[in-house]
């Protein structure tokens, strides 16, 4: 690659995104200085937040911890809910993909449950489990499983006729057909579902923690709102965004690997 091309790539990958961040920061500063006096400006936000950022794993009290420590709590909670979503969603998707009558029976109810907000599931979870922690996990699972269900089903339905012919000519048993043909053929689609599900699980965590008051990024956000420390709201929003972005990138990497294979 010529040095010119390297320069161009560097410009596109680093300089242009910086321009975008800079523009938003400027807009933020202007807004907080003029029409939105309740909004803390960038510098004040940094001043008030830096204790949480520079010592990210500190534990000064139950509700006063470093931002990455809170993030870790949230990630663990998301991991539990997300695993549950995959555990239920993948087999459900496989069934939907393989059976026409199963699809006809259950697709309507899935389409009805899919758009229900986490704010609606959480109280039901609290009623069911009587405790905030399982209620939160239940909510994450209920909201995040649908992309996995639908994409797995799509993956199974899109298996090329060629592979099905191979299975038929070789007279593969049901289990073997599933393990050797259906699952590997549907895997790239399934991973698209897994990635979208993870995005939703992360989206739901804030709502779940806000309503249950559990320690985590979302719980911290809600608590700081009640304590009138608005700088920390922005810190939390930024953290949630960055973590969500990193999770999505990681999943995309795995997905790209599977597509090549």
């Amino acid at each position: 690659m010529s040095s010119n091309a390297v320069g161009k790539r560097l410009f596109e990958l680093l300089v242009l995104p910086m321009v975008g961040v800079g523009a938003v920061m400027a807009l933020w500063a202007i807004l907080s200085g003029t029409v939105a006096p309740t909004l803390p400006g960038p510098w004040k936000t940094w001043e008030v937040s830096k204790l949480y950022v520079l010592d990210p794993f500190a534990k000064r009290g139950e509700l006063d911890q470093g931002i990455l420590r809170f993030t870790w709590y949230s990630l663990v909670r998301v991991a539990k809910g997300y695993s549950l979503a995959l555990l239920v969603g993948t087999p459900l998707g496989l069934l939907l993909g393989m059976s026409q009558s199963f699809t006809k029976s259950f697709d309507p109810i899935i389409q009805i449950l899919r758009p229900v907000s986490p704010l609606a599931w959480l109280p039901l979870g609290l009623v069911l489990f009587q405790k905030p922690e399982p209620a939160g996990i239940f909510t994450i699972a209920m909201c995040s499983m649908w992309p996995t269900v639908l994409n797995t089903a799509l993956g199974v339905r899109s298996i090329p006729q060629d592979y099905i012919n191979v299975a038929r000519v070789l007279q593969l048993s049901r289990t073997k057909r599933m393990l050797k043909i259906t699952l590997p053929a549907a895997l790239p689609y399934m991973f698209t579902g897994f990635r979208l599900s993870l995005g939703i699980a992360w989206l739901v965590i804030v709502a779940a923690e806000m309503l249950t008051g559990a320690p985590g990024v979302g719980g911290f956000l809600w608590q700081e709102y009640n304590s009138l420390i608005y700088e920390h709201l922005i810190l939390c929003i930024a953290t949630i965004g960055i973590v969500g972005f990193i999770l999505d990138r990681l999943m995309s990497l795995i997905e790209a690997k599977l597509r090549v294979a």
């Binding site: 060629d162 592979y163 191979v166 070789l170 007279q171 593969l172 050797k180 043909i181």
Partner: protein, 282 residues
């Protein structure tokens, strides 16, 4: 020739769709394939050759007529009938060895793992792919993929091998190489083979007998032409063999004249339909 043919088709018809939408692909086919024979079906693209293979493989059921294999009616796929598909149909997530092994494992469940592996390796070597046995299909050229498909089908040791235009997706040079290789493999294995192709020369090079399939819809089989040229057949020498020219001429004449007749019929039908009734003209 033995008294009873291995494969018998009697009055077989097959179409797709229903009612007005229905098109008949194959009409009233009769065909016998004898044990150890290599029969080539030569026909136009889209004539229904793949449908014919699917019927004999048991992937499709005929609408009318019957197909028997070794005296028993064909009711579905079976391991005594191996298929090499036009599109190779290799599983992209498995290596060359695993693609073949999957079939071996399925057909010889009682063998030990070592026996199955050895059998797999032997068939990969038979198609000269030993060096590429750990590669995935995506890393192979079209010709190599097709050889894997041939190895997979041969490794199941079917009594009948169905080759559905196995070489049609390849460039001319690769195609010639693989034709020679296929000729060698056919001779070594001594299997009963039905080769589907759109290339008359390929048919003459490989087959004992050529059966033309005329253009669809409602394609029919023409009279079979024996290829009485001794083996091994050399592709260069065969071009100058007078018998080659006669066979080639017979097959091509049949195919072209059947196509011509069909066109004329359909033109006549169109003209009738387009000519307005006299009272409508004013």
């Amino acid at each position: 020739m033995s008294a009873r043919a291995l494969v018998v088709l009697e009055g077989v018809s097959k179409g797709y769709g229903t009612g007005d939408q229905r098109t008949e692909v194959l009409r009233d086919l009769d065909l016998e394939i004898h044990r150890g024979e290599l029969v080539a079906i030569v026909g136009f693209s889209g004539a229904g050759k793949t449908t014919l293979v699917s019927l004999i493989a048991g992937l499709l059921a005929p609408d009318a007529g019957r197909i028997t294999f070794d005296g028993a009616p064909v009711r579905g796929p079976g391991k005594e009938r191996g298929v090499v598909f036009q599109s190779y149909s290799l599983l992209p997530w498995l290596s060359v060895r695993d693609n073949v092994y999957l079939a071996v494992d399925q057909v010889f469940p009682t063998w030990s793992k070592a026996e199955k592996l050895a059998h797999t390796e032997r068939h990969i070597a038979l198609v000269n792919l030993h060096a590429a046995r750990d590669k995935k299909p995506a890393e192979l050229s079209g010709g190599m993929r097709q050889r894997v498909a041939v190895a997979r089908a041969l490794a199941t040791e079917p009594e009948l091998l169905l080759l559905d235009e196995p070489l049609s997706a390849l460039d001319a040079l690769t195609r010639a190489t693989l034709q020679d290789e296929l000729a060698r493999i056919c001779q070594v294995s001594g299997k009963t083979i039905l080769l589907i192709t759109n290339d008359v020369d390929e048919g003459i090079l490989l087959a004992d007998r050529i059966v033309p399939l005329d253009a669809g819809p409602a394609a029919k089989l023409g009279p079979s032409v024996q290829v009485d040229i001794e083996r091994p057949r050399d592709r260069k020498a065969i071009n100058h063999d007078p018998r080659f020219k006669v066979i080639r001429g017979q097959v091509i004449d049949y195919l072209l004249s059947s196509n011509q007749a069909r066109k004329q019929r359909s033109r006549a039908a169109t003209t009738r339909a387009l000519t307005p009734a006299p009272e409508a003209v004013s």
